[in-house]
Symmetry: C2
Subunit: 111 residues, 2 copies
DNA sequence: CTTAATAAGTAGCCGCGCTACGCATACCGT
DNA sequence: ACGGTATGCGTAGCGCGGCTACTTATTAAG
């Protein structure tokens, strides 16, 4: 998968990963890995700044905890984040509908 | 539609628009507009440089013509461009499958 | 005692879609 | 005659965000 295909869709992935559960950053990366069948292996330099952006935007909140001597910052959705997730999901549906239409419609659609 | 959602998918759109027909830049923009039901209104500053990139990459070739006193640069796919389009289409399918899985799989998939 | 796994983070690069222009011709309304 | 709109091509430069590469720290395995 080409690197910048994710552009503009990363927030949706992160919010969806946190939907209904709270996870720390490293666990989010693993969840994304497993949830995508290994297709998504996001580097920390992608995920951590994105989580900070989401927190600044008020879509997630974080709490520190220590588990087995390691410090974890655990994130969870806010109500605004839940709303943002809903918006991202419908934006994604609209986006794929549009692109699917163009990608598929070229050959057989007009006759 | 947020601006950079297209990131990494513009080439696919352009190649698909040129699939089976030859169009000049302005007509490509209109075709994209109509083919998307008005959702895609790409500025020339997006499309023209992208077409030049595709030409540099050998995916399209262009010929100049004059129609009604206006100069047109008409593009068409090369064989490499056709192959690139096929690759873009399957990459798109894979991409949407992955994102759909993550976006949909959060809540109800695992129980 | 070195390597790998777990865990968080930052600095800076780079590509590309977009904004904002410039240039030119044709057509339509008034 | 002239302004506005549509047609048509193009470039310069911004801005953003995902990525590379790096640092720091603790634990577990070998």
């Amino acid at each position: 998968m080409k690197p910048d295909a994710l552009r503009g869709h990363l927030d949706a992935l992160l919010l969806a990963t946190l939907d209904g559960r709270q996870l720390h950053g490293y666990a989010i990366i693993e969840a994304l890995q497993q949830g995508s069948g290994g297709a998504l292996d996001l580097p920390t330099g992608t995920v951590y700044p994105a989580l900070r952006r989401l927190e600044r935007a008020g879509h997630v909140v974080s709490d520190w905890s220590t588990v087995g001597g390691r410090k974890r910052r655990t994130y969870r959705l806010t109500q605004a984040g839940q709303r943002a997730l809903n918006a991202e999901r419908s934006a994604w549906r609209e986006f794929t509908t549009v692109i699917d239409g163009v990608l598929g419609g070229g050959k057989w659609a007009q006759q």
